[in-house]
C-alpha cells in the first residue's frame, strides 16, 4: 500500500453502513417506486418452446377496461435488439428482439405486451390476446442440438452451433502415450436457476425530454448506454438508477427486454410505466446458469502425477445469446480448468449450442464453478483409481509456492498463490486424520460417511481492457471512482460499481478513510445512479468490484490525500514530506499539537485565497483504474457428509474452508460472501437443477419444484483464511464474491462419492438427491432391504 499511514480501517470488521435502512424497511427497491399516473406492463409469453407466430389478435384485449395500449413485436421493433457484449472467434450470433416477431424460440419468449392502468387490468387483457401458433419441432438437449437434422433455433444461422472454442497447450498425444493411468468420465454440470429473492422489476418515467429508469440491475451504466442508443436519446437524457437491489448472482447482469420496453413505453405513452416480474415468470424469462456436458480424459502416472487433460464440452446457451453468454463457457471457464495444478498438456474444445430453452448466462461463478467441478472431480477419480489419499494427489500436483507468477498450460498468468498452507489448514480444521474412525462409526449405524476436498483457483478482477479486447470482450474492464470533499470536510465517494448486497458503501468508505486519515463514518458512498457517478461504471459482477472498483476508490483517495498534504504543508509552512494526515488532522510529523483539522484544509481548498502557488481550487478527484492483470484467489474447502443408508438423505455434518483472497478489507463481509456462496454451491451439489421435458416445458418452474436451500439444508460453516497478496494492484486485494460457490460444489460431491465409494460408486451427476442416492445404493446391491 502506498498510504503513508498504517491501515486503521482496512482489515477491520466495520459495521455496515447499509444496514440501518434495510432493517427498518426504509430501503427503496425498484418495485417500491410508485409514481403518479403510473401504468403497468404485462408481457404475453409463448407457452410453446418453438412455434411460428402466425397471427396475433389483440381486438378483445384492446377493449378491456383500463387498457392503455397493446403491442405485438412488430409494433415495438423501434426498441432495437438486445445487446451481446462479447464476441468469441467463430461465433454465430443470434438476433434477439425484446418481443419475438417471427417465432417463439423458448417457452417464455415474449410475443406481445399490454399496458394498463392497473396490474390486474393488464393481466386480464393479456389473457384475451389470441396468438395463433404453428408448433415447430423442439430441441432441448445441447448435444442433440448439434446433431445433423436437429430442429434449428435460428434458421438464418444454418445450424445450432454458436461457436467452437479450442484451447491447447503442451503435447497431449505424448501425455496419453506416457500415461500409466487413463481415466475417462462424462461430467454434467446441470442447469441452475439463480433465484435472487427480489424478482426483477423496472420503473420508468419520461419528463422534459429525460428518461429516468429504475431497474434491478448490476450494471446501470450499460443499461443507460443501450437505452440511449436503442431509444435514440442522448446519453445525457437517460438516467438509470439501481436503487436497493435484492441480490443478483449474475441474473441481473443483462440489458433485458423489459428495461428497453419500459423505457420505450414511458417515452411513447408519456406516462410512467412499471413492470414487475412474477416469480414463475422469472423462472422462464430471467437467465439461467451453467448447463455443460463434458467428456473428460485424464492421463497420469501411478504415483499421482497428472500428465494431461483432454476435454470436449458442449455448453447449452439456450434460445438466444445474452449479454455475456459467449464469454462464460469460454474465457471464464476454459482457461481456469487446470486449476491449482501443474498440468503439462491440455486440450480443450468447447462448443456452444442453441436450444429451445431459456437463455443461459452468468450465474454466481459463471464458468469457474464448472471448471473447478470438472478438475476437482477428476483429481478425486484419479485418487480413487490409484488408491492414493486425495489430499496427497492434490499436494503432489500443486503449482509450487515459488513458481508465481505462473504461466498456465492454458495460456494465462496466475498472479500469486500458495496453495499448500490453505490445504493444510483446512485439513486440520476438518480433522481429516481422524476421519476413518468416523466413517467406521457411521457404518455401525447403517450410514455412509464421506469426506470431500476441493482446492480451487478462480479468476476475478475482470479485467485489463486490452486483454478484454483480445479475448473478444466488447468493453473495457476498468472501473471508476470520484471522491468529492466539500468545503466543510464532508466526503462523498461515487463509485461505478453497483452493489446488491456486497456492502460497498462500507468497504469503500474503509478504503477511502485510510487514505484520507478520517473515519468511515464521515464518508458517504453513493452508487447506482448514472447521473451521479463518473461518466461510466462497469458494474458489479465476476468478483471484480474490489479488485478494480475498490482500487479505483483507493487511487482517487490517494489523489485527494496528495492535495490535502500540499495544502497542509503550505498552511503549516512545512515540507510536504513531513506532513502527516491521520485521525482527522493534518500536522507536521512530531508536532500533532499544531494540527489543522481535515475541514480546515478542505475549506482552504474552496476559499482558494491561500493555496500553494499554481494550485487549482477545489478538492476532488476522479479515477478510471484499468488493472494490469486478473487476480486469482484460491483455497481449500472440505465437506464431511453422512448419508442415511435407508433413505439416501445427505447431511453435511461439518464444513471447513480456508480461503485466500489476498488482503481483506472487511473480514465480516468476506465471511458473509463465503457463507452465501458456499450455500449456493451446496445447492447445486445436492438440491438444485432445472428440468425440462422433451417439449421444452420447464418442469421445475417455480419455487415449489426447484429447491432453493433453506436454513435446515446447510450446516454452520467453519472458516479460516490465509493471506497471499497480489501485486496486480496496490491494495493487494483479489475478490471473494464467487469463491464460496466455486469451492463448495466439488467438495460436497466429492464427499458424497467418497461415502459411497466402498459400494463401488465412482461418479454420480448432480443434484445428489435422496432418490438418486437411494437408487445408486440399491443398484450397488449393498442397500439394505
Amino acid at each position: 500500500m502506498t498510504a503513508s499511514t498504517t491501515p486503521t480501517y482496512i482489515g477491520a470488521r466495520v459495521a455496515r453502513k447499509e444496514d440501518p435502512r434495510l432493517i427498518t424497511g426504509e430501503g427503496t427497491f425498484t418495485d417500491d417506486v410508485t409514481l403518479p399516473g403510473m401504468a403497468y406492463l404485462t408481457l404475453v409469453r409463448s407457452p410453446h418452446a418453438h412455434a411460428r407466430i402466425r397471427r396475433i389478435d389483440t381486438t378483445a384485449a384492446k377493449k378491456e377496461p383500463g387498457v392503455v395500449a397493446v403491442f405485438t413485436g412488430k409494433d415495438l421493433e423501434a426498441t432495437g435488439m438486445l445487446p451481446v457484449f462479447i464476441t468469441v472467434p467463430s461465433m454465430s450470433g443470434s438476433k434477439h428482439m425484446p418481443i419475438a416477431t417471427d417465432k417463439a424460440r423458448y417457452a417464455g419468449d415474449a410475443v406481445a405486451a399490454v399496458v394498463a392502468d392497473s396490474r390486474e387490468a393488464a393481466k386480464r387483457a393479456a389473457d384475451l390476446i389470441a396468438v395463433d401458433y404453428e408448433p415447430l419441432p423442439i430441441v432441448v438437449d445441447a448435444m442433440k442440438a448439434l446433431e445433423p437434422g436437429a430442429p434449428i433455433v435460428h434458421e438464418e444461422l444454418g445450424s445450432n452451433l454458436v461457436f467452437t472454442y479450442p484451447v491447447k497447450g503442451g503435447d497431449i498425444d505424448k501425455a496419453f502415450k506416457d500415461a500409466e493411468v487413463k481415466i475417462s468420465q462424462r461430467i454434467v454440470n446441470q442447469r441452475l436457476i439463480p433465484n435472487a429473492i427480489e424478482p426483477r422489476a423496472v420503473t420508468a418515467k419520461f419528463e422534459a425530454g429525460e428518461l429516468t429508469l429504475w431497474s434491478t440491475t448490476q450494471i446501470p451504466h450499460f443499461v443507460q448506454l443501450i437505452a440511449a442508443l436503442n431509444l435514440g436519446l442522448g446519453q445525457n437524457k437517460v438516467r438509470v438508477i439501481a436503487p436497493e437491489v435484492g441480490g443478483g448472482f449474475g441474473s441481473k447482469l443483462q440489458v433485458y427486454a423489459e428495461e428497453l420496453l419500459v423505457g420505450f413505453l414511458a417515452k411513447t405513452l408519456g406516462r410512467p410505466v412499471k413492470w414487475t416480474e412474477e416469480r414463475r415468470e422469472g423462472y422462464l424469462a430471467t437467465i439461467h446458469g451453467r448447463d455443460h456436458v463434458s467428456d473428460v480424459e485424464l492421463a497420469a502416472k501411478r504415483d499421482g502425477t497428472i500428465l494431461g487433460l483432454r476435454v470436449r464440452t458442449v455448453a447449452n446457451v439456450g434460445a438466444y445469446l445474452q449479454a455475456f453468454a459467449p464469454g462464460i463457457p469460454t474465457i471464464l471457464h476454459v482457461f481456469i480448468v487446470p486449476g491449482a495444478y501443474r498440468i503439462p498438456a491440455f486440450d480443450y474444445e468447447m462448443r456452444g449450442a442453441y436450444t429451445n430453452t431459456t437463455p443461459v448466462d452468468a450465474y454466481r461463478g459463471a464458468g469457474r464453478p464448472e471448471a473447478a467441478y470438472l478438475i476437482e472431480r477428476m483429481v478425486d477419480r484419479l485418487a480413487d483409481e490409484i488408491r492414493m489419499d486425495p489430499a496427497e494427489v492434490r499436494r503432489k500436483n500443486f503449482i509450487a509456492a515459488d513458481a508465481f507468477p505462473f504461466n498456465t498450460i492454458s495460456g494465462i498468468t496466475y498472479d500469486s498463490g500458495n496453495y499448500e498452507p490453505a490445504l493444510d489448514r483446512a485439513l486440520a480444521m476438518a480433522d481429516y486424520k481422524g476421519f476413518e474412525k468416523r466413517r467406521a462409526e457411521a457404518k455401525t449405524r447403517g450410514n455412509y460417511r464421506g469426506i470431500g476436498i476441493s482446492s480451487y483457483v478462480e479468476i476475478c478482477g475482470l479485467a485489463p481492457s486490452k486483454v478484454n479486447a483480445a479475448l473478444g470482450v466488447g468493453w473495457g474492464g476498468y472501473e471508476s471512482a470520484r471522491i468529492r470533499v466539500h468545503a466543510t470536510g464532508s466526503v462523498q465517494v461515487f463509485t461505478g460499481t453497483s452493489p446488491h448486497g456486497q456492502g460497498h458503501e462500507t468497504s469503500w468508505a474503509q478504503i477511502a478513510a485510510d487514505a484520507l486519515g478520517i473515519s468511515p463514518n464521515d464518508i458517504e458512498v453513493r452508487h447506482g445512479d448514472t447521473f451521479e457517478s463518473p461518466g461510466m461504471g462497469v458494474g458489479t459482477f465476476g468478483s471484480r468490484s474490489l479488485a478494480v472498483g475498490g482500487v479505483a476508490v483507493h487511487k482517487a483517495a490517494e489523489k485527494v490525500r496528495e492535495k490535502v498534504v500540499q495544502i497542509g504543508a503550505h498552511l503549516l509552512e512545512a515540507s510536504p514530506a513531513d506532513v502527516v494526515v491521520a485521525g482527522g488532522k493534518v500536522f507536521v510529523k512530531g508536532v500533532p499539537e499544531k494540527a489543522k483539522n481535515f475541514g480546515d484544509i478542505s475549506m482552504a481548498a474552496y476559499l482558494a485565497n491561500n493555496l500553494p502557488e499554481g494550485m487549482e481550487p477545489g478538492l476532488e478527484a476522479t479515477v478510471y483504474y484499468d488493472p494490469p492483470n486478473f487476480t486469482f484467489p484460491f483455497g481449500t474447502h472440505i465437506a464431511e457428509v453422512e448419508i442415511d443408508g435407508e433413505t439416501g438423505t445427505v447431511q453435511i455434518v461439518k464444513y471447513s474452508a480456508c480461503d485466500d483472497c489476498g488482503r481483506q478489507i472487511n473480514p465480516m463481509i468476506v465471511e458473509g460472501q463465503l457463507h452465501g456462496g458456499i450455500t449456493q454451491g451446496i445447492g447445486q451439489a445436492l438440491y438444485e437443477g432445472a428440468v425440462y421435458d422433451s417439449d421444452g416445458q420447464l418442469l421445475s418452474g417455480s419455487m415449489m419444484e426447484y429447491h432453493v436451500p433453506t436454513a435446515e439444508d446447510v450446516p454452520p460453516f467453519d472458516l479460516d483464511s490465509t493471506e497471499t497478496l497480489t501485486n496486480t494492484n496496490p491494495l493487494g486485494v483479489k475478490g471473494i464474491g464467487e469463491a464460496g460457490t466455486i469451492g463448495s460444489t466439488p467438495a460436497a460431491v466429492n464427499a458424497v462419492i467418497d461415502a459411497l465409494s466402498p459400494l463401488g460408486i465412482k461418479h454420480l451427476d448432480m443434484p445428489l438427491t435422496p432418490e438418486k442416492l437411494w437408487r445408486a445404493i440399491r443398484a450397488s446391491g449393498e442397500g439394505r432391504r
Partner: protein, 170 residues
Amino acid sequence: MPHAVAVTVNGTSYPREIEPTLLLVEYLRETLGLTGTHVGCDTSQCGACTVLVDGRATKACTMLAVQADGAEVITIEGLAKNGDMHPIQRAFAKEHALQCGFCTPGLMITAVDFLERNPSPSDAEIRHAIKGNLCRCTGYHNIVNAIRSASAEMRQSAGARPKVAAEVKR
C-alpha cells in the same frame, strides 16, 4: 364490489374500501404504501412478505386483506418503538445477518414471533423456525447467530420490553 375494512397496522387503524381479491401484502404495499414488506414469489415459498397478524408470523401473500379486517398487523416499519430498535434488528446488523436486505424484514418478523414463543431456542430449532424464509445471500449462518444473540438479549431484558404486538390473540 369494494369492501370496507379497517386493519390496524403498526398501531394505526386504516379504514379503506378495497377489492375482495386484494391480498394483504398488496394492501400493505400498494394501498398503504408500506413497502418494507416484500414480495419474492407467487407460491408462498419465500417468506419475504411475512408480517405479524395478531402476533402471529403470517405470509401476507397467503391472506386476503379482507380477512385481516379488525386485525392487528405489525410490519417491519413497526418493529422499532419510538426510534428504539427491536433487539432482533440490532442483532441482525451486529451479526451481519443481511446482505441485500430483501429477505430481511420477513426473516426478522418470523424470528420475533418465534422468540416470543421459544425464548431459549437451540440452533436446530432456530433453523427449523426460519425454514419458510428463503435467503439467497447469507447462507443463514449469520442469521442463526443473530437470532441466537437476540434471544439472549431478550431474555435479559424480559419484562422491560412490551411484546411487539400490542394485543396478542391466539
